[in-house]
């Protein structure tokens, strides 16, 4: 198992390198550079060039890319051109709030999806099933940012239970957490339902029932645990989606997270910051997938990694 994890971690390196090269190339060849923001609209070519030179932006592609790799190796992820601070420091400021929203979203997802999916499966083709599945269809159809705006309008603007823009309190996390949680719960609940239906047909479930176990025990201890395996894969993949998807929510809810950091950096062409945040996001997606694989082995004893 340990060997497997180490192997997976080593495999991350070429993926990350390729990612940085792609992002770097896009920024190098795309029009615009961060100097236009520092310089403002009214500077002469001479001053413009002197600013470019100060930040090393007049250097050829390879030199700039190698310099970036060196700063990654040194561990500070480079210096933001516009803010003149280590990118790592900026990410450290911004990442926690994004993770908090993501985890809250995750918790809400599971809190809703598992009971709803199980109920729909156990009471298949009853009103409960239809209600859960119609609800989840709605949830799948609604984009997260739109749900976010709706929640903001109703619960923050009209009812005033929550702040409209981020104020640093726990309360600011609730609405974006629900926006993520509800939309993700929709798709997860369907997955739990179909997976449960599959498992409930299995022989061992019948055996458990015939042993005279309580139906609750059969469903939750025997069936659900096995039904969760595909759900875990899905969640591993969804983590990246949640982190990326929080960009729109961070803008709508005025929360200075890593998504906004990245969008602002893209617009102002501050590529060390884009690189750094992409690196963190990509790594966390890969790590989430590795974690999902490890969880399989824990949940399902049949799975072993050599």
């Amino acid at each position: 198992m340990l060997k497997y994890i180490v192997k997976r971690l080593i495999l991350m390196i070429p993926v990350l390198l390729l990612m940085t090269l792609v992002v770097f190339s896009i920024f190098y060849f795309a029009p615009g550079d961060p100097v236009s923001r520092i310089a403002g609209p009214n500077v002469t070519e001479e001053v413009y060039k002197s600013i470019q030179k100060k930040y090393g932006l007049d250097q050829p592609f390879v030199v700039q890319y190698l310099r970036f790799l060196k700063s990654v190796a040194e561990g500070d992820l480079g210096i933001s051109i516009l803010q003149d601070r280590p990118v790592l420091e900026m990410i450290k400021e911004r990442l926690p709030v994004t993770l908090q929203i993501g985890l809250l979203g995750f918790a809400i997802t599971f809190a809703i999806a598992i009971p709803a999916g199980v109920a729909a499966a156990v009471k298949k083709n009853t009103a409960v099933d239809y209600l859960c599945m119609t609800g989840s269809l709605l949830g799948i159809a609604v984009p997260t940012f739109w749900l976010g705006m709706l929640l903001l309008y109703v619960f923050a603007y009209k009812l005033r239970w929550f702040p409209i823009s981020g104020d640093g309190s726990f309360k600011q996390l609730v609405l974006p957490g629900f926006a993520i949680g509800l939309t993700n719960a929709a798709i997860t609940a369907r997955m739990v339902r179909s997976s449960m239906l599959e498992v409930l047909k299995q022989d061992y479930v019948r055996t458990a029932r015939s042993k005279g176990l309580l139906e609750k025990t059969v469903v939750y201890r025997h069936a659900l645990k096995n039904a969760l395996i595909p759900v875990i894969t899905l969640m591993g993949l969804r983590l990246g989606w949640i982190l990326g998807g929080s960009v729109a929510l961070e803008i709508i809810f005025s929360i200075p997270g890593i998504g906004r950091l990245m969008v602002d950096a893209i617009l102002s062409r501050d590529f060390p910051v884009v690189q750094g945040s992409m690196l963190v996001l990509t790594s966390s997606i890969i790590l989430a997938n590795i974690l999902a694989d490890i969880l399989y082995a824990i949940v399902d004893p049949r799975i072993r990694y050599g």
Binding site: A30, Q83, D84, L103, S254, D264, L295, I298
Partner: protein, 535 residues
């Protein structure tokens, strides 16, 4: 089938570790500021602290006037400048009590106030002025403001409270440049003293507010300078500000900004979009102040390319535009038609007879001019703009109006960085621009031949223009300079170098809690008697 006895604790441990690290460890920064805020809130309720919150869409990158042109408004209040501008846009004493200019306009002597202290307690002296100007002029600083001070040859310290600027040539516009946000005075050797923190955690000025905290992308908190009693003579309140704290809050989403204003989460919102004005006008808690902006929107063209080399084509384009209709369509009627090259708010330099000299809407005349120029069968051109909703609307209606006179256009939209690049490369034909600047020297930027190809994106290389501008800019006095620029404007209108379209309205929404709001055409003066109900 229960969990393996070893694996279960492992799973629980994993999840717990993840949760604790995210919700406690990593968030220590935010948690600290939360409790601080809560405390501040509680204290505010007790002492009746007055807090003004202003909404912004974007933050600046660095809090240093010398190193970026992308300023935070906070810097207006943290720093003072040698020269100020009053509500009527006149130049008045600031940190300089008075100044004299030699007859030929090349030696400026400033007599400084003697009672001024920096936020760090140090007295303000001539050395600080010299250090600030020298640092901006030092090429190693790579200051975007360096060019504006190019006329200054040397700064001499005469005594603690007298400083002399020796100029390369007469340059009355120094008045403007020394009163701009960028000319805020810093304490001498600030970079050495505060090192890497300067412009990030620390900014020192002599202004009515001090920097308390800056969380980039989130908010800036300013706290009033209790010692301040050197407000300029034209202010009603020259002493410490009445409002204890100013919070500049970043709310990137337009909708959320308006909602915050309506529920009272922010008190002042600048640059209100036209689409929300009616809604806010109908809200009894909010007043929208509308004043003509120092901005100008225009249609430009690459004057070195066919068919724009022909002045008849340029005039025809001017005649083809119905400015009132454009303003109605794009800005719901909020805005004034532009006739000249400067906004009328620049009262000294604006050419009053612009409207009489300019080209009135006359499609028949336009067609006739095009026919004379040999384009009776019409033209096929591209029309470029940035991809903001305002510019795309402008492009749409301009396309329609040009079509009326036989000019067919293809619209191309760019994001703002690509737009600048495209203009630098000189790929443009017709293109839409808006500038925001409160000085006649904007004409130098856009139309001097030495600025070709950028910022001279209309690619106007013309000897007479150069001559007129240079002579205007180097007159010995401000009045003679203003006259010179009027001459420039007459010539530009005659040559139809651009097709000016509109002067937008500066809209500032203010909530009822704010007392004694006074509009200032350049920098709002929150320390000048502005008040707010305590929480």
């Amino acid at each position: 089938m229960s969990l393996n006895k070893i694996k279960k604790p492992l799973l629980i441990a994993l999840v717990m570790a993840l949760l604790t690290s995210v919700f406690t460890g990593c968030s220590s920064g935010t948690t600290d500021s939360n409790t601080e805020n809560a405390d501040a809130g509680a204290a505010a309720a007790e002492n009746g602290e007055k807090v003004l919150v202003i909404g912004f869409d974007q933050d600046s990158d660095i809090m240093d006037t010398m190193r970026t042109a992308w300023y935070s408004d906070a810097l207006i209040y943290i720093h003072d400048r040698l020269i100020t501008r009053d509500y009527e846009f006149n130049y008045k004493p600031g940190l300089a009590e008075s100044w004299d200019v030699s007859e030929d306009g090349t030696v400026w002597t400033f007599h400084l106030r003697k009672d001024v202290k920096f936020h760090n307690g140090k007295p303000f002296t001539a050395e600080d002025v010299k250090w600030t100007i020298d640092t901006i002029k030092d090429p190693d600083t790579a200051s975007p403001f360096r060019e504006d001070l190019a006329a200054i040859k040397e700064v001499e310290v005469i005594d603690d409270h007298t400083v002399r600027f020796i100029l390369e040539y007469p340059f009355p516009n120094l008045l403007y440049n020394l009163s701009a946000t960028a000319a805020g005075i810093h304490p001498a050797n600030a970079y050495e003293e505060y090192g890497d923190d300067y412009g990030k955690k620390v900014v020192i000025g002599t202004g009515p507010y001090k920097l308390e905290e800056w969380i980039p992308g989130d908010k800036t908190v300013l706290v009033k300078n209790e010692d301040y009693n050197w407000g300029p003579e034209w202010m009603e309140n020259r002493g410490p500000a009445l409002i204890d704290k100013i919070v500049l809050k970043i709310i990137p989403d337009e909708n959320s900004r308006i909602m915050e204003l309506e529920v009272g989460g922010i008190h002042i919102l600048r640059n209100v979009p036209e689409t929300y004005v009616e809604q806010l006008d109908n809200n009894p808690d909010i007043t929208v102040h509308k004043n003509p902006a120092t901005k100008l929107g225009y249609l430009a063209y690459a004057t070195d390319k066919e068919p724009f080399t022909d002045v008849r084509v340029r005039r025809a384009i001017n005649h083809a535009l119905n400015k009132e209709e454009i303003i109605q369509f794009v800005f719901k009627g909020m805005g004034e038609p532009a006739y000249g090259y400067l906004p009328p708010a620049l009262k000294d330099e604006y050419l009053e007879e612009s409207q009489e000299l300019a080209y009135e809407y006359d499609p028949d005349k336009a067609k006739q001019l095009l026919a004379e120029a040999g384009y009776a069968d019409g033209l096929e051109l591209t029309l470029s703009a940035d991809n903001s909703s305002k510019s795309s609307k402008l492009a749409e209606i301009i396309q329609n109006q040009l079509k009326e006179v036989g000019i067919n256009t293809n619209i191309q939209l760019y994001d703002s960085a690509s737009y600048t690049d495209m203009l630098k490369e000189g790929k443009q034909e017709l293109f839409i621009r808006e500038y925001s600047w409160s000085n006649a020297d904007i004409i130098d930027w856009f139309l001097l031949s030495e600025r070709f190809p950028y910022p001279n994106h209309s690619r106007w290389v013309d000897e007479k223009t150069d001559e007129l501008i240079k002579s205007a800019a180097r007159q010995p006095t401000w009045e003679e300079r203003a006259e010179g620029y009027k001459e420039v404007q007459r010539y530009l209108i005659d040559q139809a170098v651009w097709a000016p379209i509109y002067i937008p309205v500066q809209m500032i929404a203010v909530r009822k809690e704010v007392k004694n709001f006074k509009y200032h055409p350049w920098m709002l003066q929150y320390n000048d008697g502005f008040d707010i109900e305590a929480k």
